[in-house]
């Protein structure tokens, strides 16, 4: 194992230890996605009998809400891992260890993968007995949607982490707030064509709009739209790349301004 992988693993191990030591934390990760899915599941059942559009695409709302949670948890997985270091005033120790900033970042992304899976998988499984809807029926495209939305969440999480590093814990609420600013443009529950025309280009500039549009295509039996998937991948590479560079730049600024020692509650 190379030194870099070992150090990235150490960052993840630190958070896995916290999870191991606190089952309520693990339960809480799965709790909100499950509640959210249950609520939308019943809403969806009601609409199935009152809307021909929803009736034609049974499960579209449940699928959308589960996949939205992938993005939300992907964001929180990164941001909470970073906030945990701030809350525990551990950033100083980490910063004088051989851990490089990009390794810290990759460790946070790895933890996001773990947290997202723990959070969303139970909700997806619960939908099968409750609503006879299996997200897994999407097949391989599901994996592509899942990964794309998680990477979108990573981009936001890295941006939030950079904000918190630069402006302190006063900015921590951004971890929960910022992603919802994108929700109306992501087309989670409705086609992008529903948006006013002037807003549509903005929506298409965001990867989740392509993913949710692609998801509806698959669920309506039109197969995977490779164009939409390709756009989502390209935009995600761009955004997560920019967010990563912003995080590294802010880390450098923090070294210039002395922010790494004076952090914490």
């Amino acid at each position: 194992m190379t030194g870099a992988l070992r150090r990235i693993g150490a960052v993840m191990l630190r958070h896995l230890y916290i999870m191991r030591g606190s089952w309520p934390r693990v339960l809480e990760m799965a709790y909100w996605p499950a509640i959210n899915m249950t609520l939308w599941g019943f809403t969806s059942q009601f609409f199935t009998t009152h809307s021909s559009w929803v009736a034609q695409t049974g499960g579209i709302l449940i699928g959308a809400v589960i996949l939205w949670d992938v993005m939300f948890r992907g964001n929180l997985g990164v941001a909470l891992s970073f906030l945990e270091e701030m809350w525990s005033r551990n950033l100083g120790h980490l910063s004088v260890s051989p851990l490089r900033p990009h390794e810290l970042m990759l460790g946070m992304l790895g933890m996001s993968l773990v947290r997202t899976t723990i959070g969303v998988l139970p909700a997806a499984l619960l939908a099968i007995p409750l609503y006879h809807y299996s997200l897994f029926d999407l097949g391989l495209p599901l994996l592509a949607f899942w990964l794309n939305l998680m990477v979108s969440g990573w981009a936001i999480g890295l941006g939030v982490s950079a904000l918190v590093l630069r402006f302190g814990l006063g900015a921590e609420s951004m971890a929960w707030v910022m992603i919802f600013a994108l929700a109306p443009l992501a087309g989670i529950y409705y086609p992008i064509s529903t948006l006013p025309e002037w807003l549509q280009p903005l929506a298409w500039a965001l990867p989740p709009a392509h993913v949710f549009e692609g998801m509806r295509q698959v669920m309506q039996g039109n197969g995977l739209d490779w164009g939409l998937l390709g756009s989502a991948v390209g935009l995600n590479v761009f955004y997560v790349g920019v967010a990563g560079l912003v995080f590294l730049y802010v880390h450098h600024v923090a070294r210039r301004r002395g922010l790494l020692l004076n952090v914490g509650e």
Binding site: G3, R6, R7, G9, A10, L13, R14, Y17, I18, G21, S22, E84, S88, R89, N90, G92, H93, L94, S95, V96, S97, P98, L99, R100, H252, R255, R256, R257, G258, L260, L261
Partner: protein, 271 residues
């Protein structure tokens, strides 16, 4: 029961002295740092010999912590150079960081993790071989065996200090940077901590640099003292030299002379 002051190096890891260190451990040249127009460190230069123990002494706001932060690479200087173990600390800090370590009562380890978990995480970060063995060794030396499974946040101040020491010693550091290492400790624990450092320094040949307000501690531990005031190194020398220079009986009086501009070094001593 206090742990024994026994510090042993791995057999396959030679002491720093035997590494043939031709460089001084730390060389600082014309270092300067300011924050929003306030000069925190003002053009300081000093050299710290390998294997020595040096104190940065000065009042609040003198620039001690800022200097240590720059030596660790936590803070980028505005101007000047820092060479640690022969490497430029601004450009090549990752070549040096595995060889040094740091302890401060103001930078804590994660509270929710147990002592053993904390040491395991940092052991992996430093790439410590035979980590379980090393943790057991440190637990024995620092009397941590009984608290290895306790969360770090539920320890007493003395226990936290010993755990922080264990983290700082994981990688057998060639340089130890200590920010007020005995702050908030009772006299017994503080004395034990000082003994531990001196024992490690004597046996490993490591270089120690500490920032402290405790004059007795500095007199007992240090070969060299750098007196800082308003970001500058205003005097330097061994504790004995400073006492003679100012004609005082203890460093506290020297400190007050400098802090209050009461007295200059005597001409006789200066010559």
């Amino acid at each position: 029961m206090r742990a024994r002051h026994r510090v042993e190096l791995d057999q396959d890891r030679p002491a720093p002295h035997s590494l043939g260190m031709t460089h001084p451990a730390i060389v600082v040249d014309n270092l300067r740092k300011s924050f929003s127009g306030h000069v925190a460190v003002d053009d300081i230069s000093f050299t710290i010999a390998a294997g020595s123990t040096t104190a940065l002494l000065g009042g609040n706001g003198a620039g001690k912590t800022t200097t240590i932060s720059m030596l660790l690479g936590l803070l980028l200087p505005d101007a000047g150079t820092i060479r640690v173990l022969g490497e430029d600390m601004v450009r090549h800090r990752y070549r040096v960081l595995p060889r040094l370590n740091f302890s401060s009562p103001y930078v804590e380890l994660p509270h929710r993790l147990t002592v053993a978990e904390n040491l395991t995480v940092y052991g992996h970060l430093y790439g410590i071989p035979r980590l379980k063995h090393r943790i057991a060794e440190l637990a024995e030396e620092l009397d941590l065996t009984d608290i290895l499974k306790r969360p770090a946040g539920k320890l007493s101040a003395g226990q936290k200090t010993r755990v922080a020491l264990a983290k700082a010693m994981l990688n057998h550091p060639e340089i130890l940077l200590l920010d007020e290492p005995t702050a908030s400790l009772d006299p017994d624990t503080a004395d034990w901590v000082r003994g531990f450092f001196l024992d490690y320094q004597r046996k490993s040949g490591a270089t120690l640099l500490l920032a402290s307000h405790n004059m007795a501690e500095v007199e007992r531990m240090c070969d060299q003292v750098l007196m800082m005031k308003q970001g500058r190194v205003v005097d330097r020398g061994s504790p004995r030299q400073l006492l003679d220079s100012y004609g005082r009986d203890d460093l506290e009086q020297v400190f007050l002379d400098i802090a209050r501009d009461r007295r200059q070094p005597t001409a006789e001593a200066a010559s």
